[in-house]
């Protein structure tokens, strides 16, 4: 029982970071109806920015976080401007968006390999490795931090989407882009905002991910799991992305805790296939007929 609780806590902290990444996929999908595969590259760049701010510039911890998030947000918008906007202007089919996204992620990944190098980089220890003790439970300081920061960011995002004017405009555009454009919503600005938010959260998630594990150029591939989480919860649904991520995180830690970490990736992909076969719209998704 104690071991189970311990695994649950670890799973929750990983799942919350997945959620930060997954909402980036979901936001873009809800507005533009395609999966932005370059998002993994943005997460990876965020992790590198955080690493350099901490080690090269010796910035304090909070500033490094903010810096990485802002840089990632700018880059995400830049990717949109260069790789997607020309396609959007021409009403190209979604196939082209996906190819363009793959080109962008290839560019980002190999650019980092060419400039920084393919080696693993380890974050300096920011928190002491001494875990909190809660009765028989050990709770890592880093795990706690991951959970708290993610929860704050997600709460802020939900506040932004539900209660601000911009957030309502995003909802309207997700519901019907053409009608909302006719109603005077600046679709272009909405798309920039969505990419900036996604990038900002990706930067924070990247730093957290880098602190938990290590930083290397192929980190973007690992983040495909957050994409699976987004599909699991229902692409285009924010609560779905969060719920899917938490379930996936907990499931993964339970599997690697009780069986073997070899099966962790296999479980994620099997889950993806399972959900697509039996409920393709995901746990919280709307009917695909509307989107077709």
């Amino acid at each position: 029982m104690i071991q189970f609780l311990q695994q649950m806590i670890n799973g929750l902290s990983i799942g919350s970071v997945y959620a930060l990444m997954a909402v980036g996929y979901s936001l873009v999908y809800s507005i533009m109806n395609f999966s932005n595969f370059a998002h993994g590259g943005i997460i990876m760049l965020g992790a590198y920015f955080g690493f350099f701010f901490l080690t090269l510039f010796n910035w304090p911890f909070a500033m490094a976080f903010l810096g990485a998030a802002i840089c990632a947000a700018i880059l995400a918008v830049l990717v949109e401007r260069v790789a997607y906007k020309p396609l959007r202007m021409r009403n190209a089919p979604f196939l082209y968006f996906i190819i363009s996204a793959m080109g962008a992620s290839m560019f980002i990944e190999n650019f980092v390999i060419a400039t920084i190098g393919p080696t693993f980089k380890t974050y300096p220890t920011v928190f002491s490795r001494e875990p909190f003790r809660l009765g028989p439970l050990f709770i890592g300081r880093l795990d706690t931090m991951m959970f708290v920061i993610s929860a704050i960011c997600l709460a802020a995002l939900i506040y932004f989407i539900d209660f601000t004017k911009m957030g309502k405009a995003i909802q309207a555009t997700a519901f019907n882009p053409r009608a909302s454009a006719l109603m005077g919503i600046n679709t272009d600005l909405i798309i920039i905002t969505v990419f900036a938010i996604g990038g900002f959260l990706a930067g924070i998630a990247g730093v957290l991910f880098g602190m938990k594990y290590t930083v290397y150029p192929q980190i973007g591939f690992i983040t495909i799991k957050s994409f699976i989480a987004a599909v699991f919860g229902g692409l285009g649904s924010l609560p779905g992305a969060v719920i899917g991520s938490v379930i996936l995180g907990v499931l993964e830690t339970l599997i690697s805790g009780y069986f073997s970490s070899q099966f962790r990736d296999l479980i994620s992909f099997s889950l993806l296939i399972f959900i697509l076969v039996f409920r393709p719209i995901g746990l919280m998704g709307k009917s695909t007929e509307e989107k077709a």
Binding site: R90, A92, N110, I224, F269, L276, K291
Partner: protein, 292 residues
């Protein structure tokens, strides 16, 4: 550059071309977008190699059995996922492709993640050319038949195709099956060329590469696929002097093509004997005019 080096590039292009031909039928002519063709290649590769090593079959039968194994597996996948719309089908194939790779990672009978050495080297340039020519001829005949036109109709407008009585599900299934057979044969060729198989060879990057070649060559064009496979397989070798930066350039080129010439090199057009004759006659005409 000596002949041995050029021959190696040509063989690799030929192997890529075989997989690309299949994907061209699926993506270019039927309008379905697969991210999991590396998975079909993996099934073909391992089956064909097993036929050769464990049963001692000669090259061609073992390649065919490998292709058939991939095809049969694709029927199973198609049954489950071909009803999904657009994005979701491509995500599902991505999941299947990765799941196959991760399962092979854990099958110790085939060497697991360490790889499987000792496959006889039976692939040479001449048999690659023969296999590809046969593959191209079969594909041309298929596309110019009633069945091929039905597939193109599905690509253009699925709903309209359904209305005029085309069994869209059946034709998507056939298209997926044939394209998986091609991918399986290509996978078998990989094993017999390198003499070594490793699940890592069939990662998502391989699927991405194949899709990029199809789009680069031009959707709905077999000659475009041939040119694309030759050019894009050779390009990294030509750019080898730039080592690290070549993949950066590759990614940038993909984005550039998508936003500037989305129909690809040869979109919807073919190089035919008639076309070449016409081109030659056009060049001769001024000479004839001068005579007369």
């Amino acid at each position: 550059m000596d002949w041995f080096y050029i021959k190696g590039i040509l063989i690799l292009s030929g192997i890529n071309l075989m997989a690309v031909l299949g994907l061209s039928l699926l993506t270019g002519f039927t309008g379905l977008f697969s991210f999991g063709h590396a998975g079909f290649m993996a099934i073909g590769a391992y089956t064909a190699a097993a036929m050769g090593i464990k049963l001692g079959l000669p090259l061609i039968p073992s390649l065919l059995i490998g292709g058939l194994a991939a095809g049969i597996f694709s029927l199973f996948i198609g049954k489950l996922t071909l009803n999904l719309k657009g994005d979701y089908f491509c995500i599902a194939t991505l999941g299947f492709g990765e799941a196959i790779r991760l399962i092979l990672d854990n099958v110790q009978y085939f060497g697991g993640a360490r790889g499987w050495p000792g496959i006889p080297l039976k692939i040479d340039l001449w048999n690659v050319i023969i296999i590809n020519v046969v593959g191209i001829l079969i594909l041309i005949n298929l596309i110019n038949s009633r069945h091929g036109r039905n597939m193109i109709a599905i690509r253009e407008e699925e709903l309209a195709a359904k209305t005029i009585g085309i069994d869209t599900f059946k034709y998507k299934m056939i298209s997926l099956f044939i394209s998986a057979v091609y991918a399986g044969i290509a996978g078998g060729m990989v094993g017999y060329y390198t003499g070594f198989l490793q699940p890592k060879m069939f990662s998502m990057n391989k699927s991405t590469e194949l899709t990029i070649i199809v789009i680069f060559g031009g959707i709905g064009s077999i000659s475009g696929s041939v040119l694309g496979a030759l050019f894009l397989t050779a390009l990294p070798e030509i750019l080898r002097a730039f080592a690290l930066w070549r993949l950066v350039a590759y990614g940038a080129a993909v984005i550039f093509i998508m936003i500037s010439r989305p129909e690809g090199l040869m979109g919807g057009k073919e190089i035919t004997l008639k076309g070449i004759m016409r081109l030659l006659r056009l060049k001769n005409r001024p000479g004839k005019a001068a005579e007369g």
